[in-house]
Symmetry: C2
Subunit: 404 residues, 2 copies
């Protein structure tokens, strides 16, 4: 493994491949209460331990009967059955339904012995303790057999499933109080730069507030990771080494601001020494000074310091890596074919991500410099200009990839 010098830029697809080849899905699992498992990734196959429902049950409100007793029943020629009691829901009726008899029953109640169908209450009338049945039934009518939903031994869910409400429902029906899921990977976040100040402290001249640790945390969280903010890293060798070793103790580490080729840039150097650097510098604009490597197998990102570049590249490079780590499927890109609302020219020798607002079916550039977070704040999506393309004409058809 040799380091690519920063001057030799890696194209986006190669960079993504290098990342995805070096991120391993998380292996640690944890038991999570059923109430909190929606959206989590199942860590083991689920096989039904018993029939659901566990008993034959009525699927309508009415009377449990022997179907044969209703032979020939019509509105004009009803049959009359003796009501012998009520099947209370949640209990088993002790007796048995005999010939000429009916037992009052509600939807969901277990079918009493001797019965094989339910007459809907709508098809009956009451005469004291006699029910008048106006409709002939076949055996099995208006009831559901035990195991209709899931049979004991059925393979219900597979390891790796991202749990939907419907899957949570199946786990609930099988009596799970908690479920083994994969842990959310812990992604450590570090800001850097002596000008960076935490929110809540007043700014002194030359200082600015930390932006990247917040946008990174939001992107990491919405892609299945557990962001762990590790503060602001100082710009000396010892601090950078310590921070990188600290990151290596997490499932992934993300640094911002430390990968620009400034005179004080140490991050790439130290990464090179402590681990493997797979690329340093990508052929995209904004966001060239992006680094990816591993230390002791832990993937480490060095993101640009500029808030827009950092956030843009966190969508392009970091989010897919976090999803792979968290075992979530790749996010499906939502792409709109729109026309450009105005002529736009932007020259670069790199692939360009241009943020746009969408208004009345047209795309308008959110015109800001790459340092400006508001170019992301007010964007609905972005268009990608390949290397060599520097102009989009007004009315030209373009593809907008939506951010959300």
């Amino acid at each position: 493994m040799t380091m690519k010098p920063f001057t030799e830029l890696t194209d986006r697809e190669t960079a993504i491949k290098l990342i995805m080849d070096n991120v391993k899905p998380i292996k640690r699992v944890e038991a999570v209460p059923l109430d909190e498992v929606a959206g989590r990734v199942l860590a083991a196959d689920v096989v039904a331990g018993f029939d659901v429902p566990p008993f034959d049950r009525a699927s309508m409100d009415g009377y449990a009967v022997k179907a044969l007793d209703t032979s020939g029943a019509t509105g004009d020629t009803p049959v009359r059955l003796k009501i012998i009691g009520v099947q209370h829901t949640g209990e088993l009726y002790e007796g048995e339904v005999g010939g000429g008899e009916a037992l009052e029953i509600a939807t969901g109640s277990p079918m009493p012995k001797g019965s094989d169908a339910v007459v809907m209450v709508e098809d009956t009338a009451l005469e004291g303790d006699v029910v008048v049945v106006y409709k002939e039934l076949k055996a099995g009518r208006n009831m559901a057999p035990a195991g209709e939903d899931m049979k004991r031994g059925d393979h219900v869910l597979s390891r790796g499933a991202v749990l939907t409400p419907g899957m949570v429902g199946a786990l609930a029906a099988l009596g799970y109080a908690e479920v083994e899921v994969y842990e959310k990977p812990r992604v450590a976040i570090y800001s850097s730069g002596p000008e960076i100040v935490p929110q809540g402290t007043p700014l002194r001249p030359g200082q600015i507030y930390d932006v990247n640790s917040y946008t990174l945390a939001a992107v990491i969280e919405s892609n299945g990771g557990a962001p762990v903010k590790r503060g602001i890293m100082l710009d000396d060798v010892e601090s950078v080494e310590a921070a990188i070793m600290d990151a290596a103790d997490h499932d992934m580490g993300v640094f911002s601001g430390g990968s620009s080729v400034g005179v004080k840039d140490l991050f790439g150097e130290v990464m090179e020494r402590l681990g493997d650097v797979f690329f340093h510098g990508v052929r995209v604009k904004p966001g060239k000074p992006t680094l990816f490597g591993t230390v002791g197998g832990t993937p480490i990102f060095g993101m640009p310091g500029y808030p827009t570049s950092c956030l843009n590249n966190s969508y392009v490079f970091l989010a897919p890596a976090v999803r792979l780590l968290a075992r979530l499927p790749p996010r499906e890109a939502r792409v709109l074919r729109l026309s450009m609302g105005h002529r736009m020219a932007s020259r670069s020798d790199r692939e360009q991500f241009i943020t746009v607002r969408v208004e009345e079916g047209k795309a308008y550039r959110v015109f800001k410099q790459s340092g400006d977070i508001t170019s992301m704040t007010h964007a609905d999506g972005y268009i990608v200009l390949p290397v060599g393309v520097s102009v989009v004409e007004e009315g030209e058809e373009i593809e907008v990839t939506l951010l959300y």
Copy 2:
């Protein structure tokens, strides 16, 4: 307000209109740490309190100079400037850049007095304490003026915005440590039915596990609500009254299992007495026994007891109501035009929601009874058969609304 008898079913669109007309967006606000605001709804406009960046800054690594001093500089005819020191990031350089002078500067650092441009380090060479400049610059080059991103007084974000990572970034840049957002509405959930048993207890004959409170909680949570599980409601007048009054103390109440027309059904009766019932019974299959009303202004849903009916109707009726309550925009339906993988016949006098799996571009019915949660567990989406349509032919083009 008079109650619609259950036998007079309300169609879906009317039901949704009645719900949306009677749900009021939440008014309570809370201050939430910046780290946790992504996805939340902003409760007040945000106006920039100061310029961002707060100072003119370098946007490249290099040397701060007077642009005029670089006049005529080329690769063959460089100009030489005296390096007077280093502008440390995060501080203000005390002195001033004079004619023929240069100050070393890194990206993001404040521009020192007297300078009006930055020579990129790539366009220079070093000769001791002299920098050789190979390129002519205009004033303002490679630097960004104070307020370029946001100017003091700029309207940055509007009340009601759902906070994206890019918006969180803007709030961070403005120094917010916490943000006023709307509270997540508290939605109380009640199961009912004497046969319902909590997970973790062994089933006795006739009993089943509680499914609906889990699927409802998952749907409520993923639509911006805070589910509050209030347990299993008993089937007597006092318990039903107490539960409904308890629900009225929340922002919304959702009951399941109590709105079927069983002999023991009390829910509709008590709702009628304590508040207003807007409909009871909808013309959809599954999920007919659905009720909506208000008690003391609090919206109350009575959902079907069958897990599939309950979950299906929670997507159709409950989720839009929770989103409105939470001030989230309606979820955009994701609809695929596919062809049906097999002939399918299903007769009903109600609008039918048929759950389907999608495989290789074709839709296949997840064939289960309406009581079976696995018909939702294994579904990718559903097709809607209008009243009067009972057959879809193999290969017929249909619209599948994706569940997730």
